[in-house]
Amino acid sequence: MAGLEIISDQGYRIDGRRSSELRKVCARMGVFTQADGSAYIEQGNTKALATVYGPHEVRKGRGKIQHDRAVVNCQFSMATFSTGERKSRPKGDRRSQEMSMHLRQTFEAVIVTELFPRSQIDIYVQILQADGGNYCACVNAATLAVIDAGIPMKDYVCACTAGFIQDSPLLDISYVEESAGAPFLTVAMMPKSEQIVLLEMNSRLHADNMEKVLDLATQGCKDVFAVLDRHVRDHVSESHALMTAS
Amino acid sequence: MPTDSRRVPGPQDSRSPHWYGKHATRQEGDTRPDGRGDHDLRPVYLHAGVVSQATGSAYIEMGQTKVIAAVYGPREIARREEFTMKGRLCCELKFATFACRRRRQHIQDNQEKDGALIVLQALEPAVCLDRFPKSQVDVYITVLQDDGSALAAAITCAAAGLADAGVMMYDIVAGCSVRQCGERQLLDPSVGEELSQEGESAEDHGMVTVGLLPSLNQVSALTLDGHLQQQTAVQAVKTCIGGCQGIYPILKDCLVTSTRKKIPALDPKSSHASTEGQNGQT
């Protein structure tokens, strides 16, 4: 990727965005009828699908039962055709297991699990097309799906990435920018209470720049929140209109 | 596909010379390479009670195709998740690594899993599963040599094994295959006939396998590979059913023999000169 210029002299990125711009976010709630909650999200070319089942009785492994709260169970999988080169397995590799664990930790923190003792909530996310920021798309889709399922949460969780390339922080980095090898930060946060639920960074970044990048990522999460919140409100008023009409 | 790391694999780029061979379906005139007519079965040898540890077992030879099946159970479901009023039938099908022209892997591949499912669904309608609440019957089938119609032989053999195990059944199951090459219908094809490319370009070519409950006249397994016109397909199924009915007396005969042997009072060794092993083609 040496010859590739991530930011042009005019300050535009490869896909034409400014450094602090998000990709276009499109979302839809209630994609499926059989699941308790489902949502689909597109962030640029990254497409993710989330479904939520539950709260229901703990099915497999009764040992998992918690007497004071619900168990959150997550599974992350990637469609075999989602990446540029075909993946041989959709799930079960180390990377997706780690992703499942991160998602579980994220949602255990925001779902009010104390309301459903001795039960289980399943969150399944599926990446249909991967173009950077897979974790973020998954979290955002899963948030919408959990809301669609009517499961109480303390707040939304919104996730966003920010990278630091050519001495400037970049918001919501795409696959090409991700693979340039520069450091990037993944943040999942509850936008209203401004609490960070998950923070992950790879590669190496100077401590002085850390704050700048984190601020940008935080701002990105809030921007995502604004979009998601609008979708939820639209969806609810639409469903309400349908119900009153009949 | 996962491979078994404990075993020494062969060189990766080795190839069996059989890839380059030709397969013939007809000799001079109209007979098949082994001298049969198109609608003739190969000689069948069927013997029940061959594995002493198993509850029941059977061994079949159809020409050079050799299949052995062992039945265990009914036994308690090992890790029982929930109570079932109906018993469960489990079926495993494996080709021995040396059974085919190319060497097969030790791990069950998709073709074997597919075959196992077909055999399972062929046997299920015949077994009185409601007689075995919360228990399961296991059927393990190994194809020792595949010289064509292995699936049909596996169905027949497994059914004989189940009957030998004393598992209650509504009827026995007989299996039979037909290979359609253009106009020709070859009953009980050998491997050469299965692989031959004769008729590949014709409109009708394919392979049909049927499992039949002969005395109830119900079809419990039916699978067709290839392209056939509707009329031909129906005709091929009918030929298969005919073939199954040809195998039925052999099955009956074999079970009578094995039952006689189990109950000494019924085994008039002196009066009946051993008929076992002579279950030729009917």
Partner: protein, 291 residues
């Protein structure tokens, strides 16, 4: 397979069986009617071809990727077609972990069966260098929701995705030493299409009571002990056939089922072709999952 999706009471079962007897099913269809099918192609941009299909509540996404590989030694002048089915946990919590594998293998074997014959797809067109390089088409099926009649939905989606598949044109040049070099065209519009006219569709006929129905909903699947999956081409040829389920069938009813499978399958093939051609010629905005 259907047992994963729920249970039915005796009264519900009786209601469905009686309805089928009178040629009026619980959703108002007759025995040989399909549910509404929605299909959209080219939904995943980093594949060579893709399609999303909704049949009632059954939701399938298929992606086809063309990659280069070595041909099978037995068929040196042909490309390869590989099927992979993933029953995603999205469809049912039962499919979590390895739970969906059994069903996935069943579906991929059914696909293998109908694609088995050489007249289905011209695989020689996928050859690049005989005995050297060929195109391998990975057909990846993702089951997103299971609302009955999975096999038919998958085969429809696979055919639609293959119709949509575009393989880049390659030029093979030989240098002085006889070394062959493969050159891939840069032009995204310089592509090859597949001829899918002979690709069969699966029609599943479920025996309920004394009659059979096509396109069973999952409630109806629970009422049926034996099913016949029939591969049918546009011309009405039977391409692959399998009996499924734990019941047995009368020979006469098998012949009837094959006949109605052929009849329904031919209509289904021509409808799909119409729909795909119409979609290609219209300049409609893609909706994907947002619609």
């Amino acid at each position: 397979m259907s047992s994963t999706l729920g249970v039915l009471s005796d009264a519900e079962r009786l209601f469905i069986v009686h309805g089928v007897q009178d040629d009026l099913r619980s959703d108002g269809r007759a025995c040989e009617d399909y549910r509404h099918v929605q299909v959209e192609t080219d939904v995943v941009s980093n594949t060579s071809g893709s399609a999303r299909l909704r049949l009632g509540n059954t939701d399938i996404l298929v992606g086809v990727k063309a990659e280069m590989g070595e041909p099978d030694p037995g068929r040196p002048k042909e490309g390869k077609l590989e099927f992979f089915v993933d029953c995603s946990a999205n469809a049912s919590p039962e499919f979590e972990g390895r739970g969906g594998e059994e069903l996935a293998i069943e579906v991929s074997n059914a696909l293998q069966r109908i694609f088995n014959s050489r007249s289905t797809l011209d695989l020689t067109a996928l050859c690049i260098i005989p005995e050297g390089q060929c195109w391998v088409l990975y057909v990846d099926v993702l089951v997103l929701e299971c609302g009955g009649n999975l096999f038919d939905a998958v085969s429809l989606a696979v055919k639609a995705a293959l119709f949509n598949t575009r393989i880049p044109t390659v030029v093979v040049t030989a240098d002085d030493e006889g070394q062959q070099e493969i050159e891939l065209s840069d032009d995204p519009y310089d592509v090859k299409r597949l001829d899918v006219d002979n690709v069969p569709l699966i029609v599943t006929l479920s025996k309920i009571g004394h009659r059979h129905v096509v396109d069973a909903s999952w409630e109806e699947e629970l009422c049926s002990l034996a099913r016949l999956t029939v591969g049918v081409t546009q011309k009405g040829t039977i391409a692959g056939l399998n009996k499924e389920g734990s019941g047995s069938l009368d020979p006469e009813s098998i012949y009837e089922m094959i006949e109605s499978g052929k009849k329904v399958g031919m209509v289904l093939n021509s409808r799909l072709k119409e729909a795909l051609e119409k979609e290609e010629n219209s300049k409609r905005e893609k909706i994907g999952f947002l619609g």
